[in-house]
């Protein structure tokens, strides 16, 4: 099992950067392209401006019922029609990480409907979460979304809803990077 991925920001890659907007906290340096590759987390590509590493890991909050719904509804990354994407790296505050599991679960779902909001945009908006807090990266998560151009409006709704949740009050660094498939 090899679940580590690297996101190289630079002047070449499969995805062309359409916009980079710092939502809060320090901005990432502007780049023209992002390349996504499987990786050992120790590698660096010398030509990239920055590299973010993340890892697909086990689900941390979803119940069995939620997992069943997700798996039956979501589609994989890489659909030919999904020519737009968003990479939104997020870091949560120490206050979040100091919460107990039941408190984080309650904020995540009962108060913020994080999974429920995501499910309501499936299968149009495909999603993948990469964990990186335990890899000592500058962010805790790299969130990735892929969708067809005709679903760009739905994606705006989705991120707007998530950012209005109670959970989002614990986000202390967030960078919003919009992409289109280049090759």
């Amino acid at each position: 099992m090899h679940n580590c991925y690297a996101f190289d920001g630079g002047n070449a890659g499969d995805w062309r950067v359409v916009s980079m907007s710092p939502r809060c906290g320090a901005a990432l340096e502007s780049v023209e392209y992002i390349d996504v590759r499987r990786s050992d987390r120790r590698e660096e590509i010398p030509t990239s401006t920055w590299t973010l590493h993340g890892q697909i890991s086990n689900l941390r909050y979803a119940t069995r019922a939620e997992v069943t719904t997700l798996r039956s509804t979501q589609e994989a990354l890489g659909r030919p029609e999904a020519r737009q994407a968003a990479l939104i790296p997020i870091k949560k505050s120490e206050a979040w990480w100091n919460l107990a599991q039941d408190e984080r679960r309650s904020l995540f779902e009962e108060q913020s409907q994080h999974t429920a909001i995501g499910v309501s945009y499936l299968p149009a908006i495909a999603r993948q979460l990469y964990h990186c807090r335990d890899l000592r990266q500058p962010f805790d998560f790299l969130t990735w979304f892929e969708y067809a151009p005709e679903n760009a409006g739905a994606f705006e709704e989705l991120v707007t809803k998530l950012r209005l949740t109670t959970e989002w009050r614990y986000v202390e660094r967030e960078m919003d990077i919009r992409l289109e498939r280049y090759r």
Copy 2:
């Protein structure tokens, strides 16, 4: 915040190895001493026979009530009287990691009383959990226990109880290393 630790098995270190017993899965090579140090996880000590890396991370199952009990009862590592220790690296099966959060929580506590068993031996048996699954290490967790020699019997009870739990059926590799403070 720098929460990464390395456990170097070799011929020198703060802890002398009293015994090394493979409980299940592949054994670790025998060593005479283990040294515990803060680390960047990328470092290796060339003189050590093996090095296990782990990281103190957020709690994954404990509720607020359990966290409050733990924090009010447990003692820190490094007590002068705690001259005995155990390092028990553990790897859980893919079946465990594929469970949903509510299923893992139920197995961990409602069915296995993992926290409750640990709490019943506080403050005598000090504990620290190091996570390493997301560091791509050979184990998922490094569990560490420290106690005074007069509490060695209590420690045997504690590990015996944990190994009889339903949760332990998901442990597919476990090495039991007993130590005494050397310097």
